[in-house]
Amino acid sequence: MSWDYSGNEQWTWDQIPLGAMTLEGGTATGHKTGDWRVQRPIWHTDKCKQCLICWMHCPDSSIKVSEQKMCGVDYEHCKGCGVCVQVCPFNALSMMSEKDARELDEKEAN
């Protein structure tokens, strides 16, 4: 089942689940903490040895892994703490200011 909590800010007393419980697990995924970020980790695929140490230590479950392989950073939720950069044994991750990163993105877009 999937719980639709859209528009919950407007819910009245009789619309809130009993005892204000959540009716589904992991709904926080809908809370985008990526905008907390002032720096972002950049993944250098050339240096990555797929050891998954970054994934093991990410406090925000924001290292994307599929089929046992690191496949990017979940920028929707990554807070840019830099732990992944610190724990990577192969310098396959480095931090970049969010501002520069965005400019870079725009350039690539154009």
């Binding site: 697990g25 992991g26 709904t27 703490c81 830099g82």
Partner: protein, 341 residues
């Protein structure tokens, strides 16, 4: 235990989108511990604190499985009730007898060493089948860095202030893991987020055991420790390497050190942390010396327990007595009466 690649395929237990600080050690601990459940469903509880507040802001929960928060001191007692319900409902035939759930209760050091110690002790004594995890960041971080029974000697907190008269916390921390071990439960261990392999191994072991088990996990709080936000894992590693936080386990009353890294001087652990800055001011050398002495003394204590465990095993063998887990006594919890119609 599964290797890291296999672990990466386990179900996600803690979703992103929580409001913990960037770089928080507690969420790293939770993620690593819940890997120990494998594919089995997990129901968790948490004491009031950073972890609880920041992972459960309505309507956003980061907990993928069942979760309950009750009060600050009641994580263990609340989970007692959940686990008792699991058994009571099975006995009543309202839940399939073969249904398996892993129960994990979380508490910070404030909710475990201090206000929750009575509830934890009671739950351990009653033998409930769940893992209790203390994520230890050495102070009441949720309320703004006040000292707890886990705060290290001489550390600065907002209630162990540093001044000319008083150089930070005047008391040595409680040895919680030994207190828990004294309940003679099947398994108690100390782990660190910096040693994921050791931690996940211990979590797996603990969750596989029937009966009460305990993990005390070093989970640094960069904000409270006054280190950069990317340093949680690094500083935890130094905690282990300096023997500030020895990694060991107590299984069936048998003590065993699980990591024997080269031992670094305690300064290496203290120097990077703003909460110990005053220790490095001229005239405070004796504080570092006292800190080191206490660390060495505690490590010697652990080594003695390890050595003593050999004698203990021999004594049991000589007397023909079973280990704790082998007689099942520690594994029966609550009321053990079989239900008769």
């Amino acid at each position: 235990m599964a290797n890291i690649k296999q672990l990466s395929e386990l179900p996600q237990r803690l979703s992103p989108g929580h409001s913990m600080c960037g770089g928080c050690g507690a969420t790293i601990a939770v993620r690593q511990i819940l890997m120990g459940a494998g594919k089995t469903p997990v129901v968790c509880s948490a004491a009031t604190g950073c972890l609880e507040v920041s992972t459960t802001t309505f309507p956003f929960t980061s907990w993928e499985g069942g979760f309950i928060h009750n009060t600050f001191q009641s994580s263990a007692a609340t989970m007692s009730g959940v686990e008792a319900a699991f058994r009571g409902l099975k006995r009543a035939g309202k839940i399939p007898a073969d249904k398996d759930i892993k129960f994990v209760a979380f508490g910070g050091d404030g909710g475990t060493y201090d206000i929750g110690l009575q509830a934890l002790s009671g739950a351990l004594e009653r033998g409930h089948d769940f893992l209790y995890v203390c994520y230890d960041n050495g102070a009441y971080m949720n309320t703004g860095i006040q000292r707890s029974g886990a705060t290290p000697y001489s550390a600065w907190t907002t209630t162990s202030e540093v001044g000319d008269a008083v150089p930070g916390k005047r008391h040595f921390e409680k040895d919680l893991t030994s207190i828990v071990a004294a309940h003679h439960i099947p398994y108690a261990a100390q782990a660190s987020i910096s040693n994921w392999n050791d931690l996940v191994t211990k979590a797996t072991k603990a969750m596989d055991i029937d009966g009460p088990t305990f993990l005390n996990v070093l989970a640094p709080c960069p904000r409270g420790w006054r280190v950069p936000f990317d340093q949680a894992v690094e500083i935890a590693k130094l905690g282990v390497q300096t023997n500030y936080w020895p990694l060991y386990e107590v299984e069936n009353d048998v003590w065993k050190l699980t990591e024997n890294r080269r031992k670094l001087p305690i300064e290496d652990f203290l120097r990077p942390q703003g909460r110990f800055r005053h220790l490095f001011k001229p005239g405070n050398e004796h504080l570092i010396k006292e800190f080191q002495t206490n660390v060495d003394r505690h490590y010697a204590y652990l080594q003695a327990r390890v050595a003593g465990s050999e004698a203990y095993k021999d004594a049991l063998e000589e007397a023909g007595l079973p280990l704790i887990s082998d007689d099942g006594l520690a594994l029966e919890s609550g009321s053990v009466q079989p239900f008769q119609q």
